[in-house]
């Protein structure tokens, strides 16, 4: 899952980015409103965490501009301005969730997870698709046979993206986009290595290769 973090406080960004990456998100940071709006329109993000007090362009305006141009990127608004009228205005501008500062990182993570499930029409709680259950907090997977496997960072990111987009053809470049952030070294061949590893855990037929197109996670085996 690739996440856009629009926040101008560098100290907060430093700790938050670490926590988010640790939780399995590929994180890109925008420290002003203009960059944030531009990046948010790139269509490579699964979720955005948007601070309202951004320099150059106010967070509310960024959000309004996204929504008026038809961008439905799920957005969690993060702000110290947590009076109720500001929350209502935030939701009116198109926010999907709202978190007032100060906050606990666990709460932010829980809300991001909940929002991702919601926007991918998944139920709250553990992510479960076609008998495969993913514990996003522990980054572990339970297969149909009941075996629990611990996943590495990239495996977890990849599997989560598959589970949230079942039965869709996902190209290698799309998978790369949603698993790595801008700063990572990207080698699309590495994806094949991780797919192979996931197949070992899930069974061969769960992830199907469509030649020249990409991969499909099948919700029914």
């Amino acid at each position: 899952m690739r996440l856009l973090l629009a926040e101008d406080d560098h100290h907060l960004v430093a700790t938050l980015k670490k926590d988010l990456q640790h939780a399995g998100y590929a994180v890109d940071v925008a420290d002003n409103g203009v960059d944030a709006e531009y990046l948010g329109n790139e269509m490579i993000y699964d979720v955005a965490v948007l601070d309202l007090g951004l320099p150059q362009r106010n967070g509310i305006d960024v959000l309004k501009n996204w929504r008026s141009s038809g961008n439905v990127l799920p957005v969690i608004v993060l702000t110290a301005r947590n009076a109720w009228h500001e929350r209502v205005d935030g939701f009116k501008a198109g926010a999907d969730d709202y978190l007032g500062k100060p906050f606990h990182v666990e709460e932010l993570l829980a809300r991001i997870t909940a929002l991702l499930h919601r926007s991918n029409r998944q139920s709250a709680g553990l992510l479960n698709t076609g008998g495969v259950t993913l514990d996003e907090a522990q980054q572990t997977m339970v297969t149909e046979s009941g075996a629990t496997h611990k996943l590495t960072g990239i495996e977890f990111r990849l599997l989560r993206y598959f589970l949230l987009n079942p039965d869709c053809v996902l190209s290698k470049s799309r998978l790369t986009e949603h698993v790595y952030d801008f700063d990572s070294e990207k080698d699309s061949n590495v994806i094949e290595v991780y797919i192979r590893r996931l197949r070992q855990l899930l069974g061969k037929d769960r992830i199907e290769t469509r030649r020249g197109q990409g991969y499909v996670f099948k919700s029914t085996s």
């Binding site: 907060l12 009076a83 709202y98």
Partner: protein
Amino acid sequence: MQSLQARLSTGLFVSLVTVFSALWLIININIQFLAEEYIASRLKHDADTLLNAISFDANDKLILNNNKIDQVYHQPFSGHYYLISTRTQYKQSRSLWDQQLKQINIATGEQLRTHQPGPEKQSLLVISSGYQISDSLFTISIAEDLNPIKENINTFLYWFALISLGMLVVLIALQAIILRYSLQPIIQIHTELKSLEQGQLDKLSTDSPRELRPLVNEVNHLLSVMEQRLRRSRNALSDLAHAIKKPLTVIQQVAINSNIPDGTKDTLVQQSSEILQLTDRILKRARLAGHSHSGALFSFAEDLPALIKTLDMIYTSKTLQLTINMPDNITCPIDREDMLELLGNLLDNAYKWANQHIIFSIKIINSALHICIEDDGPGVETDKIKELSQRGVRLDEKTAGHGFGLAIVADIVNSYGGHMDFNKSTRLGGFMTELVVPIQQA
């Protein structure tokens, strides 16, 4: 103070009635005087004619030449009478018949004007003059009935009064119309002030007469100054909150992620949270608009659904049934931000603690807004509820969940001069908050 229109109308009415009454009185007195003067001068002429008919014989006996006397003095009770008298004898006109005039003797060259009752209830004007022919002294009293001319005068006065009254009514009606027309701008400002109070207008219209324009401009100026001041101070406070919270958030995050001993870490986190809460509460209290009309007003039709949608989104993981009891077309002049903060905190608590049901009731009774929010959550123990009600919600309140949010609600309710009560919901079994806020109703 009495209304301007009533005062002007009363003044004009009284002065008009006074002027017309005075006019009527003056004309009445003058016309009586003139009529009497006219008759008196005629009587003097008649006396001169009569004088020509008078002579005295050798025995000093009074002789009258009837041929020289006007016929009217021969008809009985004609209203024209005379009486010629000396010290020893008198002669009176045939028209007096069996009646008599009062005998008056005055010195030669003197004249006397008297009023006497005459025959057949006539009221007579009598002019008596003293004369002398050779050695004989005598007095001629000549009289005329005033009733016929009085009747004419009365008829005239009656018509005059009637026409005057008609004119008075027309004038008063005209005045009322002129007054209403002239006071129109004031009435307009009056209605505008009312809509201003209810927030339907944000300033007075400047299309007013020259005399009122300075007042209107001043009011508008004050309104804009107040609005700007409120907005500026709210923005400044919001910025301050933002500026304080950011570093505190960072301190907390750094503390949590650092390797310092747990005790120190906890203290650091706890202390910074306390600063945050205090800041939050004090800033929120400072932002309250209260009963000043200088911001957007809460709209039940727009803001309430938006607030509920917001809460639904925050609590997506819960499926709650929210029942809203609210009259249609409810309006109340209350600041939008204050009301959103009030309802937001109350409903947030309810959403947080409810299992399935929330009942939210709003009604307006006797210029007071009644709000009641009930949930089916765990509620608060009875002794804690008492404590809440008795002490009021204090800053250090740490009642599970129903703590901090209620403090700001209490601040808002206090700033509006209202009160609130906590109870156990009889319908749902959870927590119930009831509050009454006085409002200026149309």
